[in-house]
Amino acid sequence: MAETTGSAVKRERPLSPHLQIYRIQLTSVTSILTRITGNALIVGVMLAVWWLVAAAVSDRQFALANAVATGWFGDLVFFLSLLAIWYHYLAGLRHLYWDAGHGMDIKTAERLGWVCIVGSLVLTIITLNVI
């Protein structure tokens, strides 16, 4: 920080609201979740691509990758990925809807937040039943 020269008076500057003093709201949580799910999906993608390239290469490679991808670790990663992908999917559609200029009022925004949360659970259950 630059030292103030001349006047010794320390001026009280206004502070903008930031993460630590904002009350947690549905709109902020659903927004942060969009980013978390989107970035976390890289883990599931890495596992899927490893599994695919192992299948392409050899029986020995596939045996290892397949054991991981279809074992408890793979089940956990792919289950969470499924939740994440459907959440990110619905949240992305919500952004496209907002970008088109609709649903900007708080009531609608919050309702759409619940649609993302509940919708991702429902779509995950449907997917697990269809596959």
Binding site: G38, I42, V45, A48, V49, L52, A55, A56, Y89, I131
Partner: protein, 123 residues
Amino acid sequence: MRYLTDRKRAEGRGASHTGTEHHWSMQVSSVALAFMVPTWIYMFGHALGGTRPEVLAAFARPFPAILTALVLVVSMRHFAKGATMMIEDYTHGSTRKIAVMFATSLASVIAATGLYALIRIAL
């Protein structure tokens, strides 16, 4: 001598200095993914758990192979841009540069590895 005025060079570019280019690119890739991903999940979910010959047969067919290639390329570009945006929000200086390079490279490595697998399986 600059022929453009300062205002002309700044207008429409905002704080990012690149205007809405990033945002628009994310919109385009997100719509593409919205169309492709449900079918891909269904396909991948059916292939997962099969024996190696079954998996190879599943991804050797034209539609699954092309769809997987498209999902890989578009989603990894979408990820590289989204991860870059996150990194730029939370980090500065050299950490930021290294993290952006890492995320971008990771996306490229994943896409290249997946495409290599598809070529070996489908061709």
